[in-house]
């Protein structure tokens, strides 16, 4: 038994094996003759072993229980979304089924357009391509497709942020897909669908403050089909819609509708927020 004892730092370095050879030998010599310090070293070593065991067990359970991120979720992380926000966006059921269906429908019409040729095929593509993103956005908030809505609603996570995240995710994925598909359609610039698609998504968001998002998306699609049908029977060429003047109209539509959505966000129908 000696008159001095290991201080906490020396003990920690000894247990962690981060002390030097001489210091380690000195501590070891002391511990052999000091009951109090030996007890402290034992306690520290056991605590460390217990912590390590807990950490290993936790990592093991994580490996088994924590679901692997889906392809869509990994894609969202790649484009810069933090992991927890990527998970929240990817959790919407709409991104699992409806997105796939939407992409297939679009691909089908693109193929059809290419097969039919430059006339009616283009009108078909023009009718369907811009509404796919708005239908996916609309179905992102439908309780039949996202049945976890009620628990989502009463959490502190801002509903508006959730809506915008999902909408941006839809646009980020849908628009490049539409552009890529547009590349295979002869006779039109691949980006001409961009502004109509953005405009319709904004219409759905704004209309969601009066009616359910899915109804808004369906109504918007019907109106668009009607417009395309009227133009097809009168003008005879899709170029009419896609001229610069038409694009400005879609841009203005997007701006106005988004402003309406922001102003009326507390009246969102499907998410039933506090009025």
């Amino acid at each position: 038994m000696t008159g001095w004892h290991l201080d906490d730092d020396a003990l920690r370095r000894y247990v962690d094996r981060t002390d030097g050879l001489a210091d380690g030998a000195s501590v070891e010599q002391h511990v052999m003759s000091c009951d109090a310090c030996r007890t402290r070293v034992n306690g520290a070593v056991q605590a460390e072993a217990a912590i390590d065991l807990a950490a290993v067990w936790s990592r093991t359970r994580d490996a088994v229980e924590v679901p692997r991120p889906s392809v869509f979720e990994r894609l969202l992380r790649i484009v810069g979304l933090p992991p927890h926000e990527a998970r929240m966006v990817a959790a919407a059921s709409a991104f699992r089924g409806v997105w796939l269906i939407g992409a297939c429908v679009l691909l089908g019409f693109a193929t059809l357009a290419a097969v039919i040729g430059n006339g009616r095929g283009l009108w078909l593509f023009l009718a369907f391509a811009p509404i796919v993103p708005c239908l996916v956005v609309g179905s992102s908030y439908d309780p039949r497709l996202d049945p976890a809505l009620e628990p989502e609603l009463v959490t502190p996570y801002p509903v508006l942020l959730l809506i915008l995240l999902r909408t941006i995710a839809v646009l980020a994925l849908a628009l490049p897909a539409v552009v890529l598909l547009g590349l295979v359609i002869p006779g039109l610039a691949p980006f001409v669908w961009l502004l109509p698609a953005v405009g319709f998504v904004a219409v759905v968001l704004a209309a969601s403050t009066w009616v359910s998002p899915l109804r808004a998306a369906i109504a918007t699609s019907c109106v668009w089909f009607l417009v395309v049908w009227r133009l097809a029977t009168r003008a005879g060429s899709p170029e009419t819609v896609l001229q610069a003047r038409g694009q400005v109209v879609f841009l203005a539509l997007a701006a106005v509708c988004f402003a309406v959505f922001v102003v009326r966000r507390r009246q969102l129908r499907q998410l039933r927020p506090w009025r």
């Binding site: 936790s58 359970r61 994580d62 088994v64 229980e65 924590v66 679901p67 992991p83 927890h84 998970r87 929240m88 959790a91 919407a92 059921s93 699992r96 089924g97 309780p143 996202d146 049945p147 976890a148 809505l149 009620e150 628990p151 989502e152 609603l153 009463v154 959490t155 502190p156 996570y157 801002p158 039933r272 506090w274 009025r275």
Partner: protein, 293 residues
């Protein structure tokens, strides 16, 4: 008013022309309060009002001293709230762990290590510790209900609103859940709606009976049961004087009547007897039942 409480003052809620709640005034403190009432009595509407899922059309609601009508205060309430809705849909393909983890994210548990530990804790609490990686779709109804309950228990919230938490749950698990809720109710306000009077009798010190959107009874369980003393008896035949009468497993009839009887084989009344008596009185005399008992 104590800040650790919830209060409703003359609260009403309409859905178009339908009045779901009218003139409800309640003060709720730590402990378990049971909500009883027939279908369509307004129980779910009341719980949704308390859970900030729905605004009242009349009156004033305060949760933990905060006004849910103010966005910042509403968010603050939601940070301290656990809510189990009557029906919970689960995103397709989710495991129990993934679903509770998703709700934990929405509840601002952003650190993966602490979040995963909390998700495991609540799954253990509801008896699903070993089923975290099982797909919810492959689970039984009772197990799904427990997954939904687990998300409400995240963070041991000071306010817990539960709409029929034990529906489909087996008796053994119900006893376990009662223990969990009783423990939580030492410091938290727990409000649960149920059709299971035995859950209320075993768990709640206070019971609120709703009927047609109005409070018919608000008081202790023992007091309500005590009101049925002398009004419940067994007989070989259904008694015409009884308000309610049914054949028991022994073959004798259990009779519950508004008027006390002296010359019959009395039995200890249960909460169910007292509730039926209250309901029977409501059917006969509208809102004057409480006074008549």
């Amino acid at each position: 008013m104590s800040t650790a409480s919830m209060s409703l003052r003359d609260v009403g809620r309409r859905y178009g022309a339908t009045r779901a709640l009218a003139g409800v005034t309640l003060e709720l403190h730590a402990g378990v309060t049971g909500l009883l009432g027939p279908n369509g009595a307004g129980k779910t509407t009341l719980l949704r009002l308390l859970a900030t899922a729905l605004p009242p059309t009349e009156g004033q609601v305060r949760v933990l001293g905060l006004d849910p009508g103010t966005p910042a205060e509403r968010t603050d309430i939601r940070r301290r709230l656990g809510y189990l809705p009557q029906e919970v849909g689960f995103p397709r393909g989710f495991t129990a762990f993934a679903f509770v983890d998703y709700v934990a994210l929405l509840k601002e548990w952003t650190q993966p290590a602490t979040r995963h530990a909390e998700v495991r804790r609540v799954l253990e609490v509801v008896g699903l510790g070993d089923l975290g990686s099982k797909r919810i779709r492959a689970m039984s109804g009772g197990q799904r209900r427990r997954v939904a309950l687990a998300q409400a228990l995240l963070g041991s919230p000071p306010v817990l609103i539960l709409d029929e938490p034990t529906t489909g749950v087996d008796p053994e698990q119900r006893v376990t859940l009662r223990t969990v809720l009783a423990e939580l109710a030492r410091t938290s306000i727990v409000v649960l709606s149920t059709h299971q009077t035995e859950d209320v009798a075993a768990l709640c010190e206070r019971v609120v009976v709703l009927d047609r959107g109005q409070v018919r009874y608000d008081g202790s369980v023992t007091e309500l049961v005590g009101r049925a003393a002398g009004r419940v008896w067994l007989a070989d035949e259904p008694d015409p004087a009884a308000t309610v009468s049914w054949r028991t497993g022994t073959g004798r009839y259990r009779n519950v009547a508004m008027q006390a009887r002296a010359d019959v084989d009395h039995v200890e009344p249960s909460l169910e007897d007292a509730y039926l008596l209250l309901r029977g009185g409501a059917a006969e005399s509208g809102s004057t039942v409480e006074a008549s008992l």
